[in-house]
Subunit: 170 residues, 2 copies
Amino acid sequence: MASHHPLPFDPIDRAAQLWQERIGPAATMAAVTNIMRVQQILQSSVDAALRPHGLTFARYEALVLLVFSRQGSLPMNVMGQRLQLHPTSVTNIVDRLQADHLVERNGHPTDRRTTVVTITEAGRQRQKAATVAITDIDFGLIGLDDTQTVQLTALLTQVRRAAGDFNQSS
Amino acid sequence: MASHHPLPFDPIDRAAQLWQERIGPAATMAAVTNIMRVQQILQSSVDAALRPHGLTFARYEALVLLVFSRQGSLPMNVMGQRLQLHPTSVTNIVDRLQADHLVERNGHPTDRRTTVVTITEAGRQRQKAATVAITDIDFGLIGLDDTQTVQLTALLTQVRRAAGDFNQSS
DNA sequence: GGGATTTGGTTGGGCGTCCTACTGTTGGAT
DNA sequence: ATCCAACAGTAGGACGCCCAACCAAATCCC
């Protein structure tokens, strides 16, 4: 039973709508709500596409990162920086990838604190198969043409920059 | 928090960059990555602002929904529809709100299956205080002017519509 | 009426993220 | 040379989301 209002404003969540009527920064609230919701949609789509391959998006990203690294291996802290993840999240992800024999943990030759993660041959194959699945569904991002996709990326990049997500100290 | 892990350089995640060099739909991947990351940033900002009030964004949204409902109460399934949440998530959220005496659970007068959630006076006050905190930080969304915020909302709404996010609300 | 189906809600489990706290290691400052 | 602050990684816990499975109630339908 969809309410068949042809168009204009149903697109915003009820909560945000009420905000618009009664509270202040409705536009911002609507944008935030939309980001939250779209992220959820994309996460769901992508994870569904990856599930048959035994991967989640987080683990897939980690595999991609390793595949495209020179040696097929990176220290865990570097992975955390690249993927913008908390150290404990990296530990968690690597744990699961290792349990699936997609990566290995090795000690660093000179710094005994650091652990180097190396992708296995099985990991490379898994990543390749998962890439097919994920590109087949366009990463779950649908409804936008190329121009709009670029536009969206630009806006979000601007937010990230304002939040100090990039130019942190080296 | 992002500041825990300084990112050395560039605008786009390393993984997305490499995609751009070597694989196909780089633009889409970049957009998806950005959405994921911005969501994370917003979630972090908002939750930080709400933490002193003992709330998370999910629970705050539930309170807002109840505050602006006619009776200050809604069935759980309706909350799930409005907030686009899985039934188990609603159970979880209401559990915690109830533990804080911000809402009550009551039986539905005619349908004994449904549980009606009602906000308490403490809940209304908590919501009000939290609203101040959250608007003070602009919901964590910074770096965009009003036009760009509207533009962003439009693009994301388009994605949600394409994903069928508005089709079933009954 | 009475069985089959649908619906509302909960439980248990998996996964991801963060936080705090802790062990080792490194390397600079005294 | 030694001490100490910073760093790398992990353990344990909280929270959120989802899925599968389940019970109870309502509804459909023969």
